[in-house]
Structures are given as structure tokens and as C-alpha cells.
Amino acid sequence: MKRTFIALILGLVCGVAAHLAWFGVRHPAPVYDLESQLAWMKSDFHLNSAQLARIRALHEQSRPRMVALAREVARMRREFSAIEETRQKAGEVDFVKVSRFVVQQRVLDHECLDSARQLVAATAEILTPKQRDQYLAMLTPAIQAAVGGSLN
């Protein structure tokens, strides 16, 4: 009886230990910022050090422009909120303001999309054909969905 009990406990302990050890070693880290994204790309696309360095430099170089665009997007959203608030409170619509806003929004949409496309294309240039296929296969559906969403 004691021997059976020991064997059962030993099996359970070994199984749990193997599970935890394997999961601890292999579990993917969360992806939330550029560093973790690069780490994810490195492990998933099997990037070498040179590729990683070039992709890192590319993304860091594009950062100031991205920040400027992000600020512009935030400003446009605030402006839209103000227009909407005025419409709801006063019941009036300043059509000149709205049309100017729509034009600006369209220009900003194109700028953002162009910027993203350029960055994706430049990154893809650094990758090998196999890595590029994987990278684009991962991003293309999401970009297409986003473009479709922004056009609607």
C-alpha cells in the first residue's frame, strides 16, 4: 500500500515538475512595447543579430514621425469631439468647420497609412524571403481590415 502511494505521489510530482519546468522555459513573453515586439520577432522569425539591429534602428528612426502623427490623431479626435459636443448642445453644425475637418482627417489617414506602409516595406526588405512571407502574412490581414475600417 505504502509503495503504491509513494509511486502515485512520485508520478504526480514528476509530472507537475516537468509541466512547470517546460512551461517556464518555453512560454512566450507578453508583447506590449517595441522591445518586446523585437524580441518576439527575433524568436518567431529567427532573426539574426544584424537583422535585429537594422530593424531596431529603422523603428527607432521612424519614432519621431510616429509621435508627431499620434499627436495629430489625438488632436483631430479632440476636434471631432468638440464638433460633436457643439452639435448635441446647441443643435448647430458648422458645415465649413466639418468639411475642413473631413479633409484634414483624410490627409492624416493617408499620411498614417503611407508611413506604416513605408515602415513595413523597409522592414520587409531586411528580412529573408521566408521571413518576409511570414511577416507580411501576419500583418496584411490586419492592415487590410484597418484600411477597410478607416474607409467605412
Binding site: A18, P30, D33, Q37, L69, A70, L139, A142, G149
Partner: protein, 122 residues
Amino acid sequence: MPPPNDPRDPLDFLFERWRDAAPEPSDNLESAVWRRIAANENPTGLRRGWFATVEAIFARPSFTAAFVVGCVLLGLLLAETRVSQMQAKRSVQFVQSYLRQIDPQLDGVEGSASAESVSIQP
């Protein structure tokens, strides 16, 4: 059927016929009956038999070793399954966060982020 002028009870006739046709009871009938009575009165006997079987199996070192190895393999399999599931989630998470990183306009793709939560910081 009994003859019409037979004074005996009709049941006696039937019993006589049954005695002629019925087989002789086996020698161990009594012991078999007592065994079944004992089994009904003590249902843990069966369980004890099951435990004894398990114990006999685990008494073999080769089976114990195989059992432990099986547990380890099962643990690894379950861990790998979890890793695969997490990998798929991380893949989606990577695409979402990467798109937010490269295009502030796309932060609403999943309808969760606002312009202020764009991860690009000056």
C-alpha cells in the same frame, strides 16, 4: 395430469414429476450460496480486490518506472499544449501592438485603444 380416480392431491403428482426431471444439486452448492451471502453482506471485499490488483501492479519496479515516465510525458504534453495556445494569443497580441506602434491611426482596429493609449511615447 393425474388419473381421474387418483385420491392424492394434484400438487403431489406435480412434485413427483419435478423430482424426476430436476437435476441433482452440485456438491458445492451450499458453499457457493454462503459465499454469495457473504459477498452481499460485505461489499468492500470487491474494492479490496481492486486495491490488491493495483498494489500488485505497482509492486513491479518496471511498472512504477513506466508510470512515472508516463506522468512526466503527460506533464510535458500538457505544457506544450499550453505553450502553443499562448503562442497563438501572443501572435495576435504582437500584430495588434505592432500595428499600434507603426500607425497611430490603426489603434482602434480592435476597438479597444484610444489615441491617448498609443504606445509610441516621445
